[in-house]
Amino acid sequence: MKLREIIVVILLVCFTLCLSSSMVLAEGKFKLKPGASGKLCLSCHTAFSAKMKAKHIHTPLAKGECSGCHNPHASNHEMMMDGDVDSICYKCHDSVVAEGSVSVHQVVAEGSCVACHDPHSSDNPSNLVRAGGELCFECHQKLGEKIASNKYGHSPVKKSCMQCHTPHASTKSVGLLKSEEPGLCLGCHKIKSAGFKKAHMNYPVEQARCSSCHDPHGSNSGALLADNVHEPLKKEMCNQCHNEPTSAEPFAVKKDGFELCQGCHYETINEAFAKNRLHWPMVDKIGCINCHTPHASSEPGLLRDSMLDVCGSCHTDTMARQERSQTKHKPISDGECTACHSPHASNNLFLQKEASIVASCGQCHDWQTHSTHPIGDEVIDPRNQNLSLDCLSCHRTHGTEYKQFLYFADVQSLCVQCHTKYRR
């Protein structure tokens, strides 16, 4: 072999060795140069120098591994993410929602981790975007306002929501509670004292659900009873509805359904029974407490929950229609179903308060100012001889997929339903 050939072979071997060593040193799946997976990024993304000074830095960033979450070349996702923003966190944090969880935080279920966590760094532990309750109350705004205005506070609430709740998911209880009631409460509240028993009229409340009377977030009533207290409870007359505390079944009620409530609320119930149309849940076995709580509630009228949630628990389709609707009906958005409906009974269809649809809508809408179209009992619907024209002839009050609650996509399509000679 000639010297020239030997030199060429040696150079080729050296080149191959260099190439292979650089390949070995290349970082991650993108085979980047040393530092290019993260540290190199900071040479352009200089604003991150401030982020890097925060107390808590997300591990990949601290290690200089921007490519742990971002694709340095191209991406189908915003922020050059290397995966769907709703699920990329689960690549590492796969145990956030344990199997068999009873309740899951909505933002977790939606994969909106960044609603609470800064994916880069934060001065707060766990990279939270804000500290403590301040973060929770950004979404749970009404609750935050109520807690701030409460006359009587619950000390764990003042410390942290995490005293009772778990932030991601709970395998133990609904409401993201760390454990079920009453166990959770009894961790702090001792039940053996004479005062505790006396305060509860000797009922074995340690077997009951504390939040059926008490508001764990604080209240304006003594003993943290929810703001609106049922009269018998206020008067410590539990045995008006329940068996005696010494009986075998102290929490059993003396009568079922509406018959129990009728003893005091006879006027309301009799008035409802005199109407043509009854809201059927009122007379099933559960009766009034389908919608009302029998002890105390932070909602007016002792409703179990907000009116929208109470009504929506059965009328899911109606609520969904409003959600989908391009135009929102304000009473529904405001959670005021009773603006139009009578929840117990009515002589009118749909348990409407008003016999006339025009009169019902006219409470808020001065229809004559938006249309001169004839409506009323005297105006026969051309589509059906038995109907007269009213607001519902053109609009569906809980919304449609079109604007202004119209049944059709555009006004022309609507009008030609009756004005057929203009059909194209």
Partner: protein, 299 residues
């Protein structure tokens, strides 16, 4: 080669056709009734009971029942049975032709003669426990037994033709809200849970209910009434969805019929359904203030 390709294509298309979900029944509009025998417009009728040659409409808004004949001459109103002060919402016919009607206001069932004379109120005799009962709906079987959907005591009460207690079946656990029931010719009892979108069944002689169909809410909004045709297909009146939904005897969803509207063949908040032995379907098209009649053409 070409022949083999054609054969494979034909077999594939045939397989696709057989595998695809289809609604077996075709439904043809026969007619509608708008007026009673005195020429008064029906007002929000919620109930309809049917036989082969006549049907009874619970004309709820006018507090009356209206009798129609069903013949080749059409759908002819022949009599009005006034029920002043009442709110008739569900009607049924016994095999003898007696009329039973649920008054939603009194929450009671009244028995009437074929001529519309009110005999008496149905009062169960010999109930084993709770004396209070609230009938949300009811049905009659061929021998005259009465099945009451008693939502107060969470049970289906079975009474004989004299009102005497025969047996009861407790509601299944964890239901939403039952709005109707139906009895098949074989004696099975079907329960409709409109809130949860589920159907339960209790086979003839069984003491409890089994879930037949769930997740129906995917296909309908708020079903309130139930009827069964001669082939065992269940017809659900989807009141808030203004249409019908069909469910097979195995609980499978088989499709929807009709859509929201005001013209004939369209529905607007329908309520009670009835299917007679000729597979004629009667729909109380409540918010259209009429009853529509269709022929079910089972294939």
């Amino acid at each position: 080669m070409r022949i083999i390709f054609i054969q494979i294509t034909v077999v594939f298309m045939l397989g696709l056709f057989l595998a695809s979900p289809s609604v077996a029944a075709k439904i043809k509009h026969q007619g509608s009734v708008y007026l009673d025998s005195a020429g008064l417009s029906l007002k929000h009728p919620e109930g309809v009971a049917c036989a082969d040659e006549f049907f009874i409409v619970a004309d709820t808004g006018n507090s009356q029942l209206v009798r129609y004949t069903l013949s080749t001459q059409g759908l002819i109103p022949v009599a009005v049975y006034p029920l002043p002060g009442s709110s008739p919402i569900i009607a049924q016919l016994s095999a003898k032709g007696d009329i039973f009607v649920l008054d939603g206001k009194a929450r009671a069932i009244f028995k009437m003669s074929q001529e519309g004379e009110v005999f008496d109120k149905v009062e169960p005799k010999g109930l084993p426990d709770s004396k209070t009962f609230i009938p949300r709906s009811f049905r009659l079987d061929k021998v005259g037994n009465l099945y009451l959907l008693d939502i107060f005591a969470e049970r289906v009460l079975v009474l004989d033709s004299s009102g005497k207690y025969v047996r009861h079946l407790n509601f299944p656990e964890n239901y939403g809200s039952f709005s109707d029931l139906e009895i098949s010719d074989q004696g099975s009892i079907y329960l409709l849970d409109g809130v949860a979108g589920e159907i339960y069944v209790s086979s003839s002689g069984s003491a409890d209910f089994q879930l037949l169909s769930s997740d129906l809410k995917e296909h309908m909004n708020f079903p309130t009434s139930l009827a069964i045709d001669s082939s065992g297909v269940l017809y659900l009146s989807d009141q808030y969805g203004s249409g019908l939904a069909l469910v097979g005897r195995d609980g499978s969803f088989q499709g929807r019929k009709f859509g929201m509207g005001w013209e004939e063949g369209q529905l607007y908040y329908p309520s009670q359904l009835c299917i007679n032995e000729q597979d004629t379907l009667f729909i109380a098209d409540r918010s259209n203030s009429r009853v529509q009649v269709f022929n079910i053409l089972n294939e």
